[in-house]
């Protein structure tokens, strides 16, 4: 029993959704995008290039299984759509080549830029994708085509996984981290160590010194925002600027980063974690059209 009661503070809500306004049976092209990330997996189903259904889950130990599961979950939300009804599927993300039912694999850099273009509109020029195990700063044009990018995939500092480790350490549900990091009288100095492993020890030291949990969270969010800022400055941050990926949901990081940059990131109602899968589904539509013409 004790084991079952153990709370998993890093755990975030997994979701699936389908639009009630679209009748997929009337659509001409049904395309799907599956983004198998190192921490989370998303599936998006589009009908004639419009977002119709989606699912967002945690990636399991097995990439093909995770891809199938997340796709099935998105299909479950639909009005009776089956996998066979999908004309073209594109895999992306860390496990993109392991999506059993995909017709093609495309890198997540291309997909994120394309997805952000759909989510926020053609004015997007800089996309900061902050995922579970990597950070990507992408510059793109008005069609969502990648112009240049930078990537950190070597180190957990500044990634969602790093944040999960900290949430677990401080026993704060990850969705509360952002709000609580602002619930302090004064912004503390950022955590000084880069490595997440060392930061854990440093933060325990801060608590011992009398920091509240919220102050410790603020110190970590602040350190993380500076780290991301240092990286993103290397690509010219041109507006409009957007943040995608799970970390986009953490205002503790987003608002601090915005204040360092002196610009605001555009916001949207679409789940920030869907950008990669959305881009993949959009590519899927184009690829299917090309295939039909041949």
């Amino acid at each position: 029993m004790a084991e079952e009661e153990k709370k998993e503070f890093w755990r975030w809500t997994e979701t699936n959704w389908a639009s009630k306004d679209i009748d997929w049976r009337k659509g001409e092209i049904i395309s799907a995008g599956v983004d198998v990330g190192s921490v989370s997996s998303q599936a998006v189903i589009m009908v004639d290039g419009e977002l119709y259904a989606s699912a967002n889950t945690r990636t399991g130990y097995n990439s093909p299984e995770s891809a199938t599961n997340v796709m099935n979950w998105a299909l479950e939300a639909t009005d009776g759509m089956k996998l066979e009804d999908v004309n073209f599927s594109v895999g992306t993300g860390y496990g993109r080549v392991k999506v059993p039912f995909s017709n093609k694999a495309i890198t997540e850099i291309a997909c994120h830029a394309r997805g952000a273009n759909y989510m926020y509109g053609p004015s997007v020029r800089t996309v900061m994708d902050m995922g579970g195990q990597d950070l990507k700063a992408i510059r793109c044009d008005e069609r969502g085509k990648v112009i240049s990018f930078l990537m950190n995939e070597k180190c957990a500092a500044g990634t969602g996984r790093g944040m999960e480790v900290i949430a677990d350490l401080l026993q704060v549900p990850i969705i509360e981290v952002g709000d609580r990091s602002f619930d302090v009288d004064k912004e503390p100095d950022p955590v000084s160590t880069t490595c997440v492993l060392f930061a854990k020890a440093e933060m325990l030291g801060l608590l011992k010194k009398g920091y509240t949990v919220n102050q410790a969270l603020a110190a970590y969010c602040s350190a993380m925002s500076y780290r991301v800022y240092t990286m993103i400055r290397e690509v010219d941050v041109v507006e409009d600027f957007v943040i995608t990926g799970g970390i986009a949901k953490n205002r503790g990081l987003v608002e601090r980063l915005e204040s360092h940059l002196g610009i605001k990131a555009l916001k949207t109602d679409v789940d920030y974690q869907l950008a990669g899968a959305l881009g993949a589904a959009l590519f899927g539509k184009v690829l299917y059209e090309k295939k039909k013409k041949k």
Binding site: S38, Y61, Q133, C155, R161, C195, F198, A201
Partner: protein
């Protein structure tokens, strides 16, 4: 003349007491969030072994990452010079020292005079430090000693793709789930850490003879992996492998 060297590392405190140039007492203790307790315990052990009191010590030189957190030393010196000073005394044929602590790794060149012409340090990242090994042994639920012994049983060449300790932990857990033989995983971790250490060491150009010291250097799995990664025929392990820097500081105190 009685002097002492104190090495206040990120995990343990080491004290060496010298009496007329000979080691009279040694003490080591593990610190937690606060280093004060370990500082006192290490002193008590060293003084007891030497059979003297703190007042008999004429001079104490301190070194180490957490030295600033304690009081009761006269002057300080860098870890790099402390290591080099000690090694020149222990084995003057050593030209390269690789020192692996809990949170830092160092590669130090030593010349025939015991001076340091070049060195490289990693203190920013757990990859290539003892903390990495510890995190992985925790993930596999074995002691750090067992971890090294397990690694020796394997001849597999399984790569751990992640360099970061946080990512590597997930990778290790996946490997355990896939029922990969445990010795193979342990060896893969040792290989990963030694690769990091080897690339750091190559920045200073590794010249034989090579000494391997520090707390993490006690691990048999890592010893073997590093020897292979650097393609060395032999590696020198001093007897008091964790006390080298403290010994160097004590020598300096006697100058």
């Amino acid at each position: 003349m009685i002097t002492a060297g104190a090495d206040v590392g990120s995990k343990t405190v080491k004290i060496v007491i010298l009496k007329d140039g000979e080691i009279a007492g040694k003490g080591i203790a593990t610190g937690g969030l606060e280093v004060e307790g370990a500082w006192n315990d290490a002193w008590d052990a060293a003084l007891k072994e030497a059979g003297i009191s703190r007042y008999d010590i004429e001079k104490t030189v301190g070194t180490g990452a957490r030295l600033k957190e304690v009081e009761g030393y006269d002057t300080e010196m860098s870890m790099v010079t402390a290591d080099a000073r000690a090694m020149h005394e222990i084995n003057p044929e050593i030209r390269t020292i690789i020192d692996v602590g809990a949170e830092e790794g160092r590669a130090i060149k030593v010349d025939t005079a015991g001076k340091v012409p070049d060195f490289a340090v990693n203190e920013k990242c757990a990859a290539g430090a003892g903390a990495f090994m510890e995190a992985m042994s925790r993930a596999m639920q074995v002691s750090i000693e067992e971890f090294g012994e397990e690694a020796l049983k394997s001849t597999a060449n399984l790569p751990i793709n992640a360099q970061c300790a946080v990512f590597a932990e997930s990778e290790v857990v996946s490997l355990v789930h896939e029922e990969t033989p445990r010795p193979d995983i342990c060896k893969a971790v040792c290989d990963g850490v030694s690769d990091r250490l080897a690339s750091m060491a190559r920045r200073v150009v590794v010249e034989p003879k090579v000494a391997f010291i520090g707390g993490a250097a006690q691990g048999l799995g890592l010893q073997k992996a590093l020897k292979e990664a650097l393609d060395l025929d032999e590696v020198f392990y001093p007897e008091d492998i964790v006390f080298v820097a403290a010994y160097g500081a004590a020598l300096k105190a006697a100058d």
